[in-house]
Symmetry: C2
Subunit: 433 residues, 2 copies
């Protein structure tokens, strides 16, 4: 980090001192943004960075409609849900209007972790069971219950004894089955393993875009038979839409819609407040009622008027600005551009994704492993002013997840800089070993 | 709820339809506030209600300094902790300056639930143990791990098999022991019970003001020997300061300081952002380092610049306006006024508390149980424009927990209306049975 100036080195030292060791920074040269606007972050020297990674600021950084909604409501009233208030109802109704009717009731939380944790509690209450099935590199949140069901946190965070993992179809042995059949067979195996341990399944919990498994979107519909398996076994299907939802994948609006399945519970978070901490659980009425009869749920900040004003503003802008259609178009344009790069650079193994959730999987070459190429690309792109990160079990997949207001001109910049970065990587000195 | 107007009845119907059954409202006639300012909430008819319950809006509703900080930062930059930023460091350092030095590192979360859940994860990681000891009516949060350790949620939310509860000294059999010795003996018994089940204790988790146990503040220092017991047993002491902390109890600033004990981990939440969702875990460096070596912790919204700007503004105002001393003075004044009422109204059994966290425990009379009196008082005070609620195992304790900017004139209003309410209760028709 020798390239850092004295001010940033001082910040690093302060971080080391007062923040826990669990805090990690991106990049060899950490970024120190000063302001954000649209798809851009600006550093102290007013250098612009194209944000192609931040799925939270879905409408772009500091979207004026959301900022105004937050400022207005914070100055007028911010209190809890034990009083009557219109804002939470306006927000809940607008959210439900984007979802198929069986999903009828909303509980607001502050984070996607709280939403997934609550979804699991609801599933346990409704089914009277405890077992939980997730994918092999799943990430669902940071609470204790979710960390136990998030194998991507690493072996030092052991899985719960009630948790079983399944492989995605592309990671299974090749056989005569379709990907959908292969995935269903995995879930059936997990159900059987739980049963052998005397555990009934409460839920199959799937990130609809499998972000931490490396972003696996196709073939659309491949999860449908697996949902039938969990239902037959008496468990619920929870669609974790914290990353996939809210038009990230384009016109389907929700990841599970693209897969043509019907979840019992849906969770959402990250983009819901364009940065403001707001998230939610939506469920079938009978699930919510079973939970509500057994327990009150009071989340001090959840559903407060300011958070709901932020989320409502986000839903308004998504509709008013025709975001789903734009995401569909620009996403396809970007994937096409990346696909063309693949013809020029053998380091690109595969381009996949949907809407503006896109993966570039790298392939090893004679000099570097796929993971080493991926790491070098992320650093090289940062040097060239484009912010990205990695995913996948091997850390060899470029995760492209820009604000939804990304335009063709921004896609052009990303493709052009990736072209330059890969070319420079090949032309540069071989890696030190 | 027949006194509700058509608009509010429509809101109730919308709530029933789209929010889960887990949502509950206060009061027979739910309140529908339109705006908040200082210690006041205003309804649609601009009727003012004295907020003597909301510990979240600690500086008063819509405090302009906090609103300005949120609005300014939300318009400039809101991103995550994987980039460098000053605001999180300014906030962490200012927070640490209020705490004794062994508490050296901060992780930001969005809610008190997330903070307590993380504190438990840190304790488990550091001790390699799982056992958790809480009080008999404890409430520590809504995540699955915390609901399992929050007996106040009721019998339908079963405690974890690794959880044991202890009685507070005033609920134990009278014996020759001091309250401190009695409480320590309870914790030792819980440690022994865990040991008998083959479980080592990870932590003793105490709300420093025992809010859901009925607000138990005295004698100051009574928890100290119990902390020694948990330490000898290899467990950590976690001070849950979500309700007691941040000058709520006056000049001690933190509830554990009043008890002259040294926690390994401290959690805070509710008042930290004056309504904005921000919370934190503070711990000894070695606890944080052990956790950070085993796991990263990334909370998407936790520690974002807007949340940290809100919390920093709260810390600034608390210091600048001399809040701890004011709380000390006004709290004592209010308790004195309530004590004088006790001489007039035999329904008042005991007035207790510290700073602006005050309990009025009711006593049954010939016509009504203590709980029935308590419920009638809450409704009667709401009719008279004062907002309060209840606590304690029997629901017979009035919970008084106003914004910290409460003044003598507001204390006078509260005492006067409570006097009227109790007088009207005695003069009114006997309760229907």
């Amino acid at each position: 980090m020798s390239g850092l100036d004295a001010d940033d080195r001082a910040l690093l030292e302060r971080r080391r001192k007062v923040l826990g060791g669990a805090y990690r920074l991106f990049y060899d040269q950490p970024l120190h943004p000063q302001r954000g606007e649209g798809v851009w972050l600006y550093d102290r020297h007013d250098r612009a960075y194209l944000d192609a990674y931040n799925n939270v600021a879905c409408l772009g950084h500091c979207h004026p409609h959301v900022v105004a909604a937050i400022s207005r409501q914070a100055a007028r009233l911010n209190t809890h849900t034990r009083y009557l208030d219109e804002t939470i109802l306006d927000c809940a109704e607008r959210l439900l209007a984007t979802l198929p009717p069986p999903l009828a009731q909303v509980i607001f939380t502050c984070t996607g972790s709280e939403a997934n944790d609550l979804a699991y509690r609801i599933a346990c209450q409704y089914t009277g069971a405890q077992g939980l099935i997730v994918t092999r590199m799943a990430y669902h949140g940071v609470t204790q219950a979710l960390a136990q069901a998030s194998p991507s946190l690493g072996a030092q965070v052991p899985l719960g004894t009630h948790v079983r993992t399944v492989e995605l179809p592309d990671a299974c042995d090749r056989d005569a089955l379709t990907p959908a059949q292969r995935f269903a067979a995995q879930v059936q195996r997990a159900v059987n393993e739980l049963a052998a341990a005397g555990i009934r399944p409460a839920a199959l919990l799937l990130d609809s875009v499998f972000a931490s498994d490396g972003i696996v979107t196709d073939p659309a519909g491949f999860i449908a038979p697996a949902v039938e398996v969990i239902h037959r076994a008496g468990g619920l299907f929870i669609a974790d839409e914290v990353q996939a939802g809210l038009a990230r994948l384009g016109e389907p609006f929700w990841g599970f819609v693209r897969h043509r399945v019907s979840p019992d519970i849906v969770t959402l978070g990250k983009p819901f407040g364009n940065g403001h901490p707001v998230a939610a659980v939506v469920a079938r009425r009978e699930c919510m009622e079973a939970f509500g009869q057994a327990s009150r749920y009071f989340n001090t900040f959840g559903g407060n008027p300011v958070s709901c004003a932020a989320a409502l503003a986000v839903l308004e802008v998504i509709e008013r600005e025709g975001i789903p259609k734009r995401v569909e178009e620009v996403g396809e344009y970007l994937r096409r551009g990346l696909g063309q790069l693949a013809a020029l650079h053998p380091e690109i193994g595969q381009v996949r994704g949907a809407g503006l959730f896109i993966a570039v999987a790298f392939a090893s070459n004679a000099e570097r492993s796929a993971a080493a190429i991926a790491r070098a690309v992320v650093e090289g792109m940062r040097e060239r002013g484009v912010l990205l990160s990695l995913t996948g079990a091997g850390g060899d997949v470029l995760k492209i997840r820009p604000p939804l207001v990304f335009e063709r001109q921004h896609a052009d910049i990303l493709v052009e800089r990736l072209d330059q970065t890969l070319a420079a990587l090949r032309a540069g000195p071989p890696p030190m070993t």
